[in-house]
Symmetry: C2
């Protein structure tokens, strides 16, 4: 049975999409069957795989409306073993559009409950938009765990307690099984004191929940989406790509921990 | 009569808050009377001025509820001439909470129409959260222009057409006077080809609407919020601070253009 993992953090620009793309790719490259769902109206994860806006089909918006079976929304990517449900611009304004719908927080959960879909995969990742709106809430309700990319900067650190309160609220009221998959330090720059200080703070607060692998700030990571490729395909030897490979190794090791 | 300017971009982490804090500070330092409204549930602009979470009063949430006169929400900052309406955590979930309210997009506009408030200022800036939710929509309706911070990276560039479509939609349906104040290039790194290529693309597309002043990536900018100070107060000589000073000068010059 697949594990569904939301990649979430309300702070913008902390590396949610970059982590979704590259962790999913590294896991698929190691033989896992992975589905990546892009729930961000910006559609960055879809762009990061070079899927043009007019080739996305109904996309993840149809998970909210239920207008088509979820399995029909799934598209291949150029990474063997990695499939995707891309995002379309229909998602813009979805928060307001579905605010008055019954069980508005359970729409994705219900769509993914379709027999035979999720079971084909080992892991299903959901890339969330910034903010704590209805799309992120839906992902937290559908998921069995949440992975938190955390940029090593002050504003990003500030927001972590707000995020944890929201996760705890979702666990208490909407999804009792929601666990913390872990915290991944992103855009980490060893040369910069603030980055080091933030990293130390995070490790002290989250202890073993912080992945040992930190993702360094790496120019090849920034460049790869403009080539429509994950950094693992764009420049496998770059520090960013190698960090995502070791993150995937560590992620898999953690799945078998007691 | 004050000019109300929304600082908006749905892409996360592009420098909206950093630009709001430092442009407002530089303008106040040059003698303008400025009000900064923090409409982001994360409250980063409020934190950036060292306003503790329990010292924020009712905050900008009360602009949505109308429960108190807007003037009573205004607090001083340590920058002479710069006042603020801070953000509180009540803003979390505001999109859903106000989705069914009449004139849900006009709540801030109505609050700021209070006689005697906005007229005391030369400029009122509204720092928006990431996304194109109800809070950002409210800011675009209340504003007479929108300032767009644009990070010189691929994903940020991708989202610009979506943002412009939303701005045009707001102009056509909700706020006919909404103009483009301009685009500010942020985290610009002259040494990196992609950054330069993105900047060239943006200048070709937006032409004179792009401010000549680009904000360089600067470590002192990243550090300043952890000291609860704008970078202009934290390290006036740093490249980031100086860039915001020249941005303010250019901003004022543009106000008198035909
Ligand atoms: N390790 C890294 N090194 C360098 N740049 C990075 C790294 N990780 C992410 N970036 C860049 O930082 C920017 C923000 O990253 P990304 O878009 O993945 O964040 P996000 O959290 O998904 O943003 P949003 O909140 O808008 O969804 C992107 O331009 C991305 O290319
Ligand atoms: N010129 C700069 N040089 C270095 N770091 C910067 C610069 N501008 C902003 N930053 C840092 O980048 C991060 C994102 O900036 P900021 O929080 O202002 O963006 P934002 O668009 O307001 O984010 P959000 O979408 O979450 O509201 C912050 O940690 C900030 O300190
Ligand atoms: Mg993203
Ligand atoms: Mg901000």
């Amino acid at each position: 049975q697949a594990k569904i993992i939301a990649i979430a953090n309300q702070k913008g620009g902390v590396g949610k999409t970059t982590t979704a793309i590259n962790l999913a790719t590294a896991l698929a490259a190691s033989g896992e069957r992975v589905l990546l769902i892009d729930m961000d109206p910006q559609g960055n994860a879809s762009t990061g795989f070079g899927i043009a806006a007019d080739e996305r089909g109904l996309g993840s918006y149809a998970l909210l409306t239920g207008e088509a079976p979820a399995a029909s929304l799934v598209l291949p990517t150029e990474v063997p073993g990695l499939l995707m449900i891309p995002a379309t611009e229909d998602l813009i304004g979805a928060d307001l559009e579905f605010a008055q719908v019954d069980s508005r927080e359970h729409l994705i959960e219900r769509a993914l409950a379709e027999p035979g879909l999720v079971g084909q995969f080992g892991y299903v990742f959901i890339d969330c938009p910034p903010g704590l709106g209805l799309l992120t809430l839906n992902a937290l309700v559908a998921a069995s765990s949440v992975l938190i990319p955390l940029q090593c900067e002050f504003f990003a650190l500030e927001g972590i307690s707000q995020l944890m309160r929201t996760i705890n609220l979702v666990r208490r009221t909407l999804n009792p099984r929601l666990a913390l998959e872990g915290v991944v330090l992103t855009m980490f720059d060893r040369r910069n004191n603030l980055g080091q200080a933030v990293a130390d703070d995070v490790r002290a607060y989250f202890k073993a929940d912080v992945f040992e692998t930190a993702i360094p700030r790496s120019i090849r990571v920034t460049e790869s989406p403009s080539h429509g490729k994950p950094v693992l395909l764009y420049d496998y030897r770059s520090p960013g790509a190698q960090a995502y490979v070791s993150l995937a190794v560590e992620f898999l090791r953690r799945q078998t921990l007691p």
